[in-house]
Amino acid sequence: MARDLKPTLIENTFVLKALTENVRLDNRSFSQMRNLDISFSSTEYGAVDVHLGRTRVIVRISAEVTQPRSDRPYDGLFVISTEISPMAAPTFEAGRKSEEELVISRIIEKSIRQSQALDTESLCILAGEKCWLVRADVHFLDHDGGLLDAGCLAVSAALLHYRRPEISIVGSGDARQVVVHPPTEKVPVPLSVLHVPVCVTFSFFNMKLAQSSLTAATSTTAATTPAKENDEIDMDTDDTDETAVLVDASLQEELLRHGFMSVTSNINKEICQIYKAGQLAVEIETLLSCSEAATAVAEKVTKLIRRRLKEDEVARNVGNVLEEARAENDRLVADEGVIQDMNND
């Protein structure tokens, strides 16, 4: 079903009217997310496939050794590329940055890079000379709303899943060289991920507008001007129940909403980023409760990511290969063994 059209007037009216009756088009409750599925590539590290309802995002992490920036010699580099191709929806043009793409790339950037989810100092190999460049390529494959939320959690999950090749430094002084070991030689190492940011978008609908458009629809067909006048008057009157808040809007809801707020938070009850840029002005209390709700969602999503990671690890670890390939000793077990030996003596 090609969605290349703007929502029609009756869709606009119906979605608002349904919200007054507490109905969403896919039968979800207002605070319910769509089905979320995260799967990892069975052959590679750092490739994740996220389905959020019918929205689908793939993220691939890669790393290479480069030179650090001269003003930050102790930091590695971390780049997130979020280009939306026409593959996601025919409305996106290749090569031309749309408004939506700008917002998505900026929020993902703030959520993950600026919040220091990846410890860039740990990517430093030789100060001022060599460091890792970690790249996250986000591919939006199918667009049914929530590209931002799906993209953000896909990057988080992929960073957790990725293993970079082990390196060693040979030689000394000016003759120092960095040797990158292929996975067959040394076991790849995980990245130092400090926290797992999860982005949740809340969509706001002005229910005053819903009522006025309903009266306009029932009275006469050409009643667009009276409706406008109604909402002018309504601006002054106070009503607590004037904004409907939806979690994880579908594309149709996204196109019809009057405003939104994206909150990125993590399982430690920290807010990493809040983005509410204009559009419908919402009561401060609503925003606060949304931020708190976001941390609850983040906790749930993080637990799902961790569970999927564990399942993936079990699937990879057939025949206990990881245990055998491990370099470090299991201290606790060894100590206990010694103690037991002493007791036996």
Partner: protein, 255 residues
Amino acid sequence: MSRPEIYSPEGLRIDGRRWNEVRHIKCAINTHPASSDGSSIIEQGNTKVMCNVVGPAEPTSSSGGGGAKSNTNSFANENKVTLSVKATVAPFSTIDRRKRSGNDSRIQEMCLTIQHIFEEAVMGHLQPRSQIVISLYILAQDGGMLQACINAASLALIDAGIPMYDYVCACTAGMHDTEVLLDLNRLEENDMPFLTMATLGATRKVSLMQLETRVGVDKLEPMMAAAMSGCHYLRQIMDAQVRKHGKNRLARVGA
């Protein structure tokens, strides 16, 4: 050299303010009557922003907005005014003088944000198929660039006589350990998590809220409350300035 103390035990900040004091504000409207339909200049401490508004006028094809093909998602807001926001950051606005490229994604995002704020604050349906161009010139940066831009745009739109629901006033608030600080300067911004908030006049309705640094969710509420009171205070100051200007004009007409 030891680092300056952000917040002294006596309750004084780097520039001698208390926690709930905003920086010195100087603002004026109708500063460029010849070049634009509405103009303003605002100084919040050492941050200085100038704003020009042209419109409502026929959409020009060069400005990209292109009237009929406005970036509306739904047929429902087809007949609204098109806003276009441009921001120029002066090369001399920071201590290290450098030329800034026009397509910095941070500036683009800010323009988009300001556009979305005023699309809601301006009564767009009264001027269908027309365009308002808001040009911002950031002359000096010392923290709170976004808030100064929003306040400047608000004043310039009022000066241009464009119908609006209310002022949009913006203010920042930060959290230093457990202390809330209002209206941060650049040094303070770099040192602590802070949020920028814009409200529709003196109401509790929040048009913009942005936070870009990590902070515990329990610290959000005091920051939001402080920022909101800051917004309401700024509205008073801006309102007083606009009224003064209006009185002067009336006096001139009357004389």
